[in-house]
Symmetry: C2
Subunit: 374 residues, 2 copies
DNA sequence: GTGAAAAATGTAAGCGCTTACATGTTTTCA
DNA sequence: TGAAAACATGTAAGCGCTTACATTTTTCAC
């Protein structure tokens, strides 16, 4: 930021001299350097005002609401701004104006394409409205997420985008107390104080599971991220169970393995699953990354997909389509979610009111990795 | 941010009453609301100080250099902080301390896994040092990048991470003038004022091209991102040419197609390439994403890879290994690059000096998509 | 126990903006 | 033509921190 200069540069001869001489010996400024505008000190509003022979208020108005200033004056000020290479000091502006024009987002990780995509669209839309994005990631850890949220708020985030609803109620209280508009994405659930934009993880998975069951599968296994602190993962597992119950199967028969997201972990979980439940005919995975791992493990084990075993994913990231065989999965409109999340948050900031939550549709992408039971 | 509350909430009865009564009728505060700590006004440092019965300086020290405060006092202050739910005001802190503890990064896009990965590692390392990440993306457009860099600086970024060296010299001047420490990543080139961390795009590609030529390929085509404003893309193409010259081939015979990065664009470019240069036996792509597109197009065209045509990529993202056939590519240590970039930038911020640039090694991942000429 | 040095804490001056209100100047129109 | 309204600009009070320097308290060698 602008003042940095003073902090990082060793005093030059000029500034040192200034230090002791420039207050005219009155002793009124015993401790602070007086700015010397040569010597590349960074210009302030006051410098601009002086040069343009107007008050600081007028300069400020020129910059923030130019139509309040008459043409001639404005030009003079703008010329001074250009001459001096002036740019406003961020901290001062934030302090005085009580907003930073910065929006924070805490996501599990940028390494999963779903978040990278969503965030990219989110950021693009923010820029369009003159906002900047602060990013932090939680690595799917509640404690880290908590810290990051607080850090972003402390860093002046005017509003926040969070993924999913599961988190410490204290954190929501904190956000409430600080009146930080917060939007939840990647989930759609009724009955929360915070608005959301997302999709219904449960019913999306119900739909996919119906399709799976329709193919004759009865021995279903699921590889999921840990469900205890992840409402999206929980919803997806629940979806499978609901569809099973609906089809007259016992939901308790679902063979569930919980493991962190990752290709390697997906491989591991797949092996474990088949070791523990050898009759499994389909492995429904909590996301595409796990499914890719499962696919790879299946290949290594000499199993043909889908002849010997079917595998499904969730998200429809690029890999899903490129895998061999291509992955049956649930397509989620990540980019749209990101873009619209930005719009909602900007409106919340402007109108200071809670908007209606938005449910986005998902759809099944039926590809070769899912086949009928042999 | 903190003071937002005043700005967005309509005055309540309580605050209205306060407005006119609370200065004890002295008229000393005719225009400003006096804070009412009930009624969810946001606590300030002064509130904490009052409650802990210490000075604001002590509270500040507790928060910023706790070891300067004796145990008992510190606990009392921290208790007050917790009771009040205090968190420092960002703008005030930035203004007074002349730094934001915020680092900016402008990358082409988060949607390419290489940047997502690098940025993820970058961010994790920043967090470890108490810094926050400001992100913007340029979509590979110079003008947009220029704007974003200026925006991040205006938003108080203490330091900046940029991708590649190619950009308007004016922008470098600007950064120089504002003394914003800047690190260039994804490139390694000598002779620039800004330090960098990255790899030598040219020599990495030379190595891969040697391997290709070693397999007997003579009719080489290349699909690259536009080279005019992208030193990395330019270096890679140059690498192919160098290797050709070295092998006694005419570098001008390289059939080059420039197109934006993307799977679809890769497909398109591949078709164009084979239409224009049907004797091509290998298509070397500027990155993995283009290569995946090429691979797909080849399949659609009924070409066997590598029997009929070889294809190579660059980056070694996840998809490269999962593709069918798996992609021969140049492995780049993106995560390490991101992590170390953060460390370098933090050191630059601390020591206020330009560090030595760091060259990271790359290595070839030879996989099935490259084979000998038939 | 004493005095000096070290450690802890307090005081208060900014940091560079925004903006409520005050003041001065030009329009408008009866 | 003159009073009111509309407009342009100025004045100066914060915004909530950090930190240089001042003051008070503790520590410790002798």
């Amino acid at each position: 930021m602008r003042g940095l200069q003073n902090a990082v540069e060793p005093p030059t001869l000029l500034t040192i001299a200034t230090k002791y001489l420039d207050d005219g010996g009155t002793g009124k400024h015993p401790r602070h350097l007086v700015k010397v505008n040569k010597n590349k000190a960074i210009p302030t509003l006051a410098d601009v005002a002086r040069r343009a022979k107007v008050s600081t208020a007028t300069v400020s108005r020129c910059l923030n609401s130019p139509d309040q200033v008459v043409g001639e004056t404005r030009e003079r000020v703008l010329a001074a701004v250009a001459d001096l290479g002036y740019a406003p000091n961020f901290g001062a502006r934030a302090l005085a104006a009580k907003q930073t024009n910065t929006v924070g987002a805490v996501i599990p990780t940028m390494e999963n394409a779903v978040f990278a995509r969503g965030l990219q669209a989110f950021q693009e839309e923010l820029v369009r409205h003159g906002k900047t994005l602060l990013v932090a990631s939680s690595a799917y850890q509640a404690r880290l997420e908590d810290e990051q949220v607080r850090a972003l708020v402390a860093r002046g985030a005017d509003a926040l985008l969070l993924i999913g609803y599961d988190r410490n109620p204290k954190l929501y209280e904190f956000l409430e107390k600080r009146s930080v508009p917060t939007l939840v994405a990647w989930s759609y659930e009724e009955g929360h104080a915070q608005p959301c934009i997302g999709f219904d993880n449960t019913s999306s998975m119900v739909e996919l599971a119906r399709l799976v069951i329709g193919q004759g599968h009865r021995d279903i296994a699921c590889i999921s991220a840990p469900t205890a602190t992840n409402d999206r993962a929980r919803g997806r597992v629940e979806g499978i169970r609901l569809a099973m119950a609906e089809a007259g199967l016992d939901p308790r028969d679902l063979h569930l393995t919980e493991i962190a997201y990752g290709i390697e972990t997906g491989e591991t979980a797949f092996r474990q699953t088949l070791a523990a439940a050898p009759n499994t005919t389909v492995v429904m995975c909590g996301n595409d990354v796990l499914a890719i791992g499962a696919l790879r493990a299946a290949k290594e084990m000499g199993l043909r997909v889908p002849a010997d075993i079917s595998i499904t994913g969730f998200d429809d990231i690029e890999i899903a389509m490129l895998a061999e065989p291509a992955l049956t999965t649930v397509h989620v409109p990540h980019r749209e979610m990101g873009r619209r999340a930005a719009v909602m948050l900007i409106n919340m900031l402007r109108d200071n009111e809670t908007p209606r939550s938005v449910e986005l549709p998902t759809d099944i992408r039926l590809r070769r990795s899912l086949g009928p039971v042999q």
